[in-house]
C-alpha cells in the first residue's frame, strides 16, 4: 500500500483520459490536493531546525485551508503539540508523519465497502443538496457495479429538476443498467414503489435510487425524502441498505450541517466525495466523519464513467502526505 502511495506521489505527470490505470486516475484526481498540501508542508518543514509554535500555526492554517474547519484543525494541532511535549517527535520532518497519523485516525483506518443485502436486491439510495453530482454518481456507480457482473436497476426519483430523468437515462444506457422512471413532476415515492416491484420481479442485484437535490433546511423536501425511504423499506426487506450522501469536495463548513440533517432524516450510511479532481481538498469529509461518524465510501475524481473510486483512507491520506 505504501509502495502504491509512493508511486502515486512520486509520479507527478499523468496521461489524459482513456485507458489509464486505477492508480493513474486516482493520482490524477488527487494530484492537485497532494501538490497543495504536501508541497506546502514540505516547504514549511524545510530549513527548520526545531518544532516551534510558528510551524504548528502554519500547519494549522494549512488544515483550515483544506476545509477541515477551525475546531477540527485546532484539535489536530493540540494533539500534535501534546505529542511534541511528550517527546514523541523531535524533528520537523517527523511532524508530517504524525500529522498523517492523526488525520488517518480521524478518517478511519479501514475503507468500508458498501453493505449488501443478505439475499435479493441491495438498495442504494443517493441523496444530497443541489449540484453535488448525485445523478452522475448514480450513473458511475451503476457502471461500477455492472463492471463486476451485477444486474443493476436505476430509478429516477428526481422528478423535480428539468431533464434530470433524461440525464439519468443517458447514464443508465451507458452503464447497461435497467431504468425505471415516470414523468417529470410525478411523486418520487411512486417511482420508487414501481422500481421496488420491478426489482423484485426481475431479481436485480442492485437498485440505485437517484433523488432530487434538496437543501437540508427545507423541511417539506426532507419529509419527501423520508417517505421515499419508508416506501422502499416497506417493499423490499432491509432496504435501503445504503443511503449515500453526495458531498462536493469544494463544500465548506456547511457540509457538517448538511450531513447532520440528512442523517437525521434518512439515516445516511456513507459519503461520496465528488469533484476531487479540482483544487478543493475535501477536508470537510474528515470533519463529517469526526462529528457524525459517517464514513466515506466513494470518491469522484473525474467526469468519465470509471472515475468513481472506492475510498481507501490509507491511500487517500498517504497520497496527500507522502513525498
Amino acid at each position: 500500500m505504501i509502495e502504491m502511495a509512493n508511486k502515486i506521489a512520486n509520479d507527478g505527470s499523468g496521461g489524459n483520459g482513456k485507458g489509464v490505470s486505477f492508480l493513474e486516475r486516482l493520482k490524477q484526481g488527487l494530484k492537485k490536493t497532494r501538490e497543495g498540501l504536501v508541497g506546502r508542508v514540505e516547504t514549511l518543514v524545510r530549513g527548520r531546525a526545531k518544532i516551534d509554535d510558528d510551524l504548528l500555526d502554519d500547519i494549522e492554517e494549512l488544515l483550515i485551508e483544506s476545509d477541515l474547519g477551525v475546531s477540527v484543525a485546532t484539535e489536530v494541532i493540540e494533539n500534535l503539540k501534546k505529542k511534541v511535549a511528550e517527546g514523541r517527535v523531535t524533528s520537523p520532518d517527523a511532524v508530517m508523519g504524525l500529522l498523517k497519523e492523526e488525520l488517518l485516525a480521524l478518517v478511519g483506518e479501514e475503507g468500508e465497502s458498501i453493505r449488501a443485502a443478505a439475499g435479493g436486491t441491495t438498495v442504494i439510495m443517493v441523496v444530497g443538496v443541489n449540484g453535488t453530482g448525485k445523478t452522475t454518481t448514480v450513473g458511475k456507480l451503476a457502471a461500477l457495479l455492472r463492471a463486476s457482473g451485477n444486474r443493476v436497476m436505476v430509478a429516477a426519483a428526481d422528478t423535480f429538476r428539468a431533464a434530470a430523468i433524461e440525464q439519468l437515462e443517458v447514464w443508465a444506457r451507458r452503464a447497461g443498467a435497467e431504468f425505471i422512471s415516470q414523468q417529470q413532476g410525478s411523486d418520487p415515492a411512486a417511482v420508487v414503489y414501481d422500481a421496488a416491484a420491478a426489482a423484485r420481479s426481475r431479481k436485480v442485484d442492485y437498485l440505485l435510487i437517484d433523488t432530487a437535490g434538496r437543501l437540508h433546511t427545507k423541511s417539506n423536501l426532507m419529509e419527501e425524502l423520508k417517505k421515499i425511504r419508508r416506501v422502499v423499506g416497506r417493499e423490499l426487506e432491509g432496504a435501503p441498505h445504503e443511503v449515500l450522501l453526495v458531498v462536493d469536495a469544494t463544500t465548506g463548513q456547511n457540509g457538517v450541517a448538511q450531513a447532520s440533517r440528512f442523517k437525521d432524516a434518512v439515516d445516511v450510511t456513507g459519503l461520496v466525495l465528488t469533484k476531487l479532481d479540482g483544487t478543493a481538498k475535501g477536508g470537510i469529509a474528515i470533519s463529517i466523519r469526526k462529528e457524525l461518524g459517517i464514513p466515506v465510501r466513494f470518491i469522484g475524481v473525474g467526469e468519465a464513467v470509471e472515475d468513481l473510486r472506492e475510498f481507501n483512507p490509507r491511500l487517500f491520506i498517504d497520497a496527500l502526505f507522502s513525498s
Binding site: 476545509d67 474547519g69 443538496v129 449540484g131 428539468a162 440525464q167 447514464w171 463544500t251 465548506g252 470537510i284
Partner: protein
Amino acid sequence: MVFEGLSEKLQEVLRKLRSKGKLTEKDVDEILREVRVALLEADVNFRVVREFIQSIREKAVGQEVLGSLTPGQQVIKIVHSELTRLMGGVQSKIAIASRPPTIVMLVGLQGAGKTTACAKLAGSLKKQGHSPLMVAADVYRPAAIRQLEVLGETLDIPVFSMGADQNPVDIAKGAVSSAMSKGRDVVLIDTAGRLHIDEELMAELEAIKAAVSPHEILLVADAMTGQDAVNVAKAFNERLGITGVVLTKLDGDARGGAALSIRSVTGCPVKFAGVGEKLDALEPFHPERMASRILGMGDVLTLIEKAEAVIDREKAKKIEQKLRRAEFTLEDFMDQLSQMRKMGPIDQLLGMIPGFGNRKALKGLQVDEKQLARIEAIVNSMTPEERRKPDIINGSRRRRIAMGSGTSVQDVNSLLKQFSQTRKLLKQFGDGGKGPFGKGREMRMPLI
C-alpha cells in the same frame, strides 16, 4: 453546535471588555480573535481573513468608543461596516449594451447552478421588458440542453440550441446572429460546468468570449463553497475577466463566506443571489445582509443597531450625570423607559445583551410588556411636580393617579416603592465617590 459554543465565548469577551474612551490594542485583539474564528467558520478564505483582520486592527485601535456601545460592540460594528463596504457599492444590474443585443455569459464549476441561474435571470429580464434568448452551450452534461429547453418552455422564453454535437463556440456565434435577426435584445449563454484547472475547457470559454465579445461574464458560485472559492474565482477571472458573480443556494444555512473571498480576489461584485428552487427566486445582492450573515453574531449586531438608532446620546449623558448626583426623577425614569420601549420587547432586548442572556438569575425572567405600559400610564397621570418630587405624593394624590391611569392604588404604591429603592441604590453608588459604575461593578438599569 460549533457555533453555539462560539457565541457564548464571544459574549464572554464582550462582557469582559468594559473600558471607556479609546479602543486599546488589547480590546481590539481580544475581540478580533473571535471575529477571526467566526469568519473562518463562515468559510471565508483564511488568507482573506488574515488581511481583513489586519486592516480592521489598524482602523480600530485608537477609535473613540461611542457612548452607547461597549468596546467589543464597537469593534464588531467596525467589522460589520467594513464587511458591508467591501462587498457593496455596485448596483445589482446587468449592464445593458447601448447597441443590442447585450450578451451575457454564465460560467462556473459543475453543479454551481448555472442553468437555473440562467433561467432565473432571463425570467427577471423578461419581466423588465426585455426579450431574452437563452443559449444551450453545455454540450457535455447529458440532457443539459433539454434542461434549459424545459425551463424556457416554463418561462415562455426561446432557447437557442444546435444539439450536443456542435462546438459551443459555433453555438454561441449562431445564437448571437439568431438574436439579431429575431430582435432578441439580451443573449444569455449557459456554458457547461468545468473545473477551473481544465485547460481544454477553459480555453473553450476563452474562444467563446473571443467569438461573441460578451458584455457581462458572470461567475456562478455556490454559497456553500469552502476555502477553494478563491482558487476557482481567481482562475476564472484571470482567464476570462469576469464582470460579476451570481451567488446561488443562499436559501440554505451556509454562512456564505465565499462571497467575501470571491470579492477579495477578483474585485468583482456579487450582483445576484439565488434564494430558492422556483424560477423567480433570484434577488439583488444585499451587501449589508450578507455581512451580517457571514459574521454571524446576529444578536450582537441587532443590539448595536437598535442602540445606535434610538438612544439620544446627549440625553443619555444627562441621565448619567443625574445618576451620579442621585437626582434621578420619575421624569428621567419615563424618558429611559420610553427609549427602551422603542428598542423593542424588553425580554428580547435582555437576551441580546451579552452576558445577560446567560446569567442564571435572569433566566426565566419574563418582563411583562403590559406592566411597562401600566408604569407609563401611571407616570403620565402625575403632574410635573409630582414626577420631580415623588415625596409629595400623598394618599389623595395616589387615588387620583390611579384613577387617571386606570390602575389601582396598589399599582401606584408599588411603582413608587420601586422607584425609591432604585434611587436609594443610585445614591449608594454616588456616595462611593467613584461614580455609579465603580470599578468591577456592573451597571444596573434602574428598572431592571
